[in-house]
Amino acid sequence: MWQYEKTLQYPVKIANPNPKYAQIIISQYGGPDGELGASMRYLTQRYSMPYNELKGLLTDIGTEELAHMEMICAMVYQLTRNLSEDEIKRSGFDKYFVDHTTAVYPIAASAIPWRAEYIAAKGDVIADLHEDLGAEQKARVTYDNLLRLIDDPDVRDPLKFLREREIVHYQRFGEALGLVTDRLDSRNFYACNPSFDKNCGK
């Protein structure tokens, strides 16, 4: 089960609404490398993980990603409050507005709604951990790209925090991959699949 804490993991306090920024930041909610996909990826993969360290790590990082999703949604929410009809038209936010008003809906910056194809769960620990390392790195690049396009310090500050978290998660997944390969045949990690084969590595 999960319990909700009525606070953000890191504060989001944006003084000036900016619907242009909202339209690109929303990609880290419903885009291909966004926080919704990150959480679903890890919380889905954990069931077929063969070792307790990996079950723990995927549960914990999957949980933290939910908190990141909440921060991104808070940013989109604050960037789109109190908009005039004129601002909606001028900023190009009108296309989103016509479908969702100012609800926070999971789409990419390119307007494609969130899709389950953004995540993978192969049921093979090496494939899944490589997927996770790739996902963290891609999310970091997305934050780098957002930081190239955004000047407002109120918006940059939480984005920098989230970018740092991608780096920490990448590090932990790297260690997890090391734990796995240490337990397998060092001459051939692929001799069997410990997520499925009962005596693999024993």
């Binding site: 804490e5 606070t7 890191y10 989001v12 909440e70 929410y77 604050q78």
Partner: protein, 87 residues
């Protein structure tokens, strides 16, 4: 920032540090030094929460989360609502 917010932020910093140690321990479950560090951080956080609760009332959601005969859990501002008294 008033004293209440300063204390809340300090508790938040400990919460974050404890979380970092949690992820680290997931991949280093036998590292005594990290286990002890996490324990120290937990104790320090508990003390700050006691300090907060003595002055300002419940820090986390509890069955005490009632003001008078009203369910105060639903009171705003919610975490995403900056600009509506959530400064």
């Amino acid at each position: 920032m008033d004293d209440r917010m300063t204390l809340k932020h300090r508790i938040g910093a400990y919460t974050f540090a404890i979380w970092e140690m949690t992820l680290y321990l997931d991949t280093h479950p036998h590292e005594t030094c990290a286990l002890n560090k996490r324990r120290e951080l937990m104790e320090a956080r508990c003390q700050l929460i006691d300090e907060y609760e003595a002055q300002y009332g419940p820090f986390v959601r509890t069955s005490e989360d009632v003001k008078g005969d009203c369910w105060s859990w639903i009171d705003g501002p919610w975490p995403w609502e900056y600009g509506r008294g959530n400064n």
